[in-house]
């Protein structure tokens, strides 16, 4: 039996190949009967059969069928038109390589012409195949801004033929991208046309829901227009459809409502609607097909940044449901995995209960596994999940995230080719390194510091920023050993480069890192004096350059920390604040004290407090200098500062001032 099987398998392969070649050659026959038969054969072989689509594609079937269609178009042979259009449509159905081949064959305009045929079957075939093409990302761009195209689109939407009107909606769903296009469509009355399809057939309803979501996305005007139609009747219809018997309809209506909610939440004051939207999406997560995949992403989009909805979802058992799906063991689609992890991440973003619940379900192992998934989006989502779960101080200090088992794969992702993965894992590590419970750090043992410094030189500004944030957290309340270890890898020149980064956000993180570095014991301050005070000079220079508030805050805190040191340290700070020769009122301190940012005012006042703290010998002289530069008088004006923290610090300064005999 086995020998027979193997020989028949080889003969099967060759005979199927022969058969395919045979039918392929008949496609080119000049006899229309033979051609028609061949077309039907190819069509019937490829429908539903991805493997056959691929093999016929390789034979070059698509151009052959395209030319058959062109010839038939000229001779108006309906049967051949129908069969070739259907075959091309099937090649394009959910098969990207097929779409590419059809478009490359240049047959798209021909297919459009079929829509004007008098033969209903030809119109159907043409409309169906075009709809398949438009569901792909490779579909030709549709210029909504051209009047001709708008007219054509509306002629499609107005058609009695459900395939044709569905095509119109599909074009909108997949080709409308910008807010300008949304506006143009709305102004032309597309919403009024689309909503009519809600009462139509199943496919029309679904096409309508998809296109509505595209037109309304992030466009408050369009949303208000839609909700206003017939006093909210269609909004109610869409809400009703979330309870429809077909899962895809339920999904598409939910996604439509998510778009509306994210754009204009005020239409959802009713808690019941919010709640049922969450529960419907949760139910749809169990759907094995495409609906389930999209439901997961839809859910994450819905609950993103919304604590009240996260709570609703948690109370509806979302965490347990999602974890159960993840634990089924069957291979899940990458899109679904991404959606599920993002949903978990959102749930854990603010709610401690969610984090504890999630971590108590033995999920770390599974999550660690997915860090090695071949799809970058899945790896990114898993990292974000880690980041948010690690916000749980309770679990963090229980050491759950700092085991080798968790740490090693995370550290390995620092080398990931995808920058979004890098940024995401840096976010996770930023939180995890804040674990003070253990004296030794697994992360550092894995050479984490070197890797972070490496990444701080990345081409991608997000990566640089995120790695510096992680380093900043790593240096927070760090002991001298750790600081020395870090500094030895960076050195003064390295720091100067970081602080002088072209991106303000990166500069800010670099200064925050420096602030943490010099915080703590007095020895730490020496770092900024390395190589002739290179770092301190750079900080001073950056502060004099009229920086953004966030950057200035960190810079001033650096100076505050340095000024908390010895006499020499304080004098060095004075040097930076008032360099000689003094340029024309280049006094950035005054500017900072007048800033709208209370944190900046506060940081500046702190520096002053440290500079004139009475216990140090040179305080009096420094106080005189500050008074002469107008700083102390400025503080006197700020006695009633709006920010309580600033007010209290100023009172401290002024009482110090009075001790110097100043009224």
């Amino acid at each position: 039996m086995p020998t027979t099987t193997s020989s028949s398998s080889s003969s099967a392969a060759s005979s199927s190949g022969n058969r395919q070649a045979d039918v392929f050659s008949r496609l080119a026959s000049s006899d229309p009967e033979v051609k028609l038969k061949a077309l039907r054969e190819v069509k019937n072989q490829i429908i539903g059969n991805r493997t056959k689509k691929l093999s016929f594609l390789k034979l070059g079937a698509v151009p052959a069928i395209a030319s058959a269609l062109s010839d038939a178009d000229c001779s108006s042979n309906s049967s051949i038109l129908v069969q070739s259009a259907a075959a091309l449509g099937s090649f394009a159905c959910g098969f990207e390589a097929g779409v590419q081949a059809v478009l490359d064959a240049g047959v798209f305009p021909r297919l459009l012409r079929l829509l004007t045929s008098s033969d209903e079957k030809v119109v159907d075939a043409g409309a169906r195949s075009l709809r398949m093409i438009f569901q792909s990302n490779q579909a030709p761009k549709y210029d909504f801004l051209q009047e001709k195209n708008m007219e054509f689109l509306f002629s499609l939407l107005n058609s009695e033929n459900e395939n044709v009107s569905g095509l119109g909606a599909s074009i909108i769903a997949h080709a409308c991208g910008t807010s300008v296009e949304q506006q143009v469509l709305c102004d032309a009355g597309v919403l009024e046309k689309l909503v009519l399809l809600l009462d139509g057939s199943l496919s029309q309803r679904e096409a309508c829901l998809e296109s509505l979501a595209t037109v309304l996305k992030s466009n408050p005007e369009a949303v208000s227009r839609f909700v206003g139609l017939e006093a909210g009747r269609y909004m109610s219809s869409v809400t009703e459809l979330t309870k429809d018997r077909y899962p895809r309809t339920r999904l598409l209506s939910c996604l439509c409502l998510v778009v509306i909610y994210n754009t204009s939440p005020s239409y959802f004051l009713n808690m019941g609607t919010k709640s049922s939207l969450v529960t419907t999406l949760l139910e749809l997560l169990n759907d094995p097909g495409q609906s389930g995949d999209e439901a997961a992403l839809g859910l994450s989009s819905l609950i993103a940044e919304k604590e009240d909805l996260q709570k609703l979802a948690y109370e509806a058992n979302a965490i347990k449901n999602i974890v159960d799906i993840l634990k089924t063991g069957s291979e899940l689609n990458p899109k679904r995995l991404q959606g599920l992890f993002l949903s978990l991440a959102e749930l854990c973003s603010k709610l401690e209960d969610c984090r504890c619940s999630f971590l108590s379900l033995e999920m770390l192992d599974l999550l660690v596994n997915e860090l090695r998934h071949k799809n970058a989006d899945v790896r990114t989502a898993a990292c974000i999940c880690f980041r948010n779960a690690a916000r749980s101080i309770k679990n963090l200090s229980a050491g759950r995230f700092t085991t080798d088992h968790v740490m090693l794969p995370l550290v390995q992702l620092l080398h990931d080719p995808s920058s979004s993965v890098q940024v995401a894992v840096l976010g996770a590590l930023s939180n995890i390194v804040l674990d003070f419970s253990s004296p030794k750090s697994t992360f550092i043992e894995y050479g984490g510091i070197k890797q972070l410094i490496e990444l701080s030189k990345s081409m991608d500004p997000n990566t640089r920023c995120s790695s510096l944030r992680a380093l900043r957290n790593l240096m927070f309340l760090a002991d001298n050993n750790r600081k020395e270890l870090f500094y030895s890898e960076v050195k003064a020149q390295g720091f100067v480069a970081l602080i002088s980064d072209p991106e303000p956000s990166v500069q800010e993180q670099a200064l925050a890192l420096l602030r943490n570095l010099v915080d703590g014991c007095i020895n730490s301050i020496e770092f900024v004096f390395d190589e002739d005070g290179l770092i301190l000079d750079t900080v001073g220079r950056q502060l004099r350059k009229a920086p953004q508030a966030q950057m200035a805050i960190q810079g001033m805190y650096v100076l505050t920390n340095v000024a908390s040191g010895t006499e020499l340290h304080k004098e060095a700070v004075m040097q930076q604040l008032f360099p000689q020769p003094q340029a024309e009122s280049n006094n950035f301190m005054l500017k900072f004290l007048q800033s709208h940012e209370s944190q900046l005012r506060s940081a500046t006042v702190w520096t002053i407090i440290n500079l004139i703290s009475p216990s140090s010998p040179g305080a009096l002289d420094r106080h005189v200098k500050l008074r002469n530069e107008g700083i102390i008088p400025q503080l006197k004006n700020m006695v009633n500062d709006a920010c309580l923290d600033v007010k209290i610090r100023i009172r401290t300064v002024l009482s110090q001032s009075m001790s110097f005999g100043d009224n």
Binding site: T5, S8, S9, S11, A12, A13, S15, S16, R40, K43, N44, I47, G48, N49, R50, T51, K52, A86, G89, S90, C93, G94, A125, R128, S201, L202, S203, Y246, P288, S330, E331
Partner: protein, 243 residues
């Protein structure tokens, strides 16, 4: 019987009624309640038409339309096409059925991998039934194996089906159910439902649901009352509770 005895018996009966505390409704009362419910003839006609159309009785639907004036929910011509497909599967002509479905709507099989797999599976079963072992092997290799590769969810069923090829006497092996005619009917039903869905028609007629509702309602009412039941759905006869 003495008056006293009758009186005691009466008390006992009263006790029994109070013990069960269920309301008793006599046949007369029940029939009166039933007659009070108003039904529209049009609704009943619609139900009948819905049944005929969904089950695919084209000629009956056409005649019924002419005699009652009830409009069918879908074009009767499409029913003919759909019934042709169903019949082809029921007769074991799966290849023919596939061609017909694709003529009707090429999207159905392109977007329904499970259905397509089941149809291919049925084709294999028919080849095995006809004793065409070589052809069956070839078919399993060329057509079914790729389905398993494309979609791991089908692997288990695929293995079951291929197992038919392994046994000398397929009609007596552990998976012999696949050869049963009922499997053809199952596949036929699946195709029928898919076509109905694509035409936005509900795949199940309303009538069975109504009858199920009746049985459920009677079960619910049984906890609270004693009343005449309909026990035989085909006759709809009222039967007294004591029977």
């Amino acid at each position: 019987m003495s008056l006293f005895r009758i009186f005691i018996n009466q008390l006992e009966e009263d006790d029994q009624e109070m013990a069960t505390s269920k309301k008793v409704i006599t046949r007369g009362e029940w029939e009166k309640k039933l007659n009070a419910v108003k039904l529209r003839k049009e609704d009943m006609n619609t139900l009948v038409m819905n049944f005929l159309v969904t089950e695919g009785f084209v000629e009956a639907a056409d005649k019924f339309q002419r005699e009652s004036g009830t409009k069918p929910e879908i074009d009767l011509a499409t029913i003919t096409d759909r019934m042709a497909v169903k019949k082809a599967v029921q007769n074991g002509n799966v290849e023919d059925a596939i061609e017909k479905v694709n003529d009707l709507n090429p999207e159905i099989l392109d977007t329904n991998p499970e259905l397509f797999f089941h149809l291919q599976q049925q084709r294999l079963i028919e080849l095995i039934r006809q004793g065409k072992t070589e052809e069956a092997l070839e078919f399993a290799q060329e057509e079914l194996a790729p389905r398993g590769e494309e979609n791991h969810a089908f692997l288990q069923e695929l293995e079951k089906t291929v197992a038919l090829l392994v046994f000398e006497d397929a009609s007596n092996c552990p998976v012999k159910d696949l050869l049963d005619i009922s499997h053809r009917l199952k596949t036929a039903s699946e195709v029928n439902a898919a076509i109905l869905t694509s035409q936005s028609h509900e795949k199940d007629p309303k009538l069975p649901s109504l009858l199920k509702m009746l049985i459920w309602a009677q079960n619910q009412l049984d906890e609270k009352a004693v009343y005449p039941h309909i026990n035989d759905l085909s006759t709809g006869q009222l039967e007294d509770p004591s029977d």
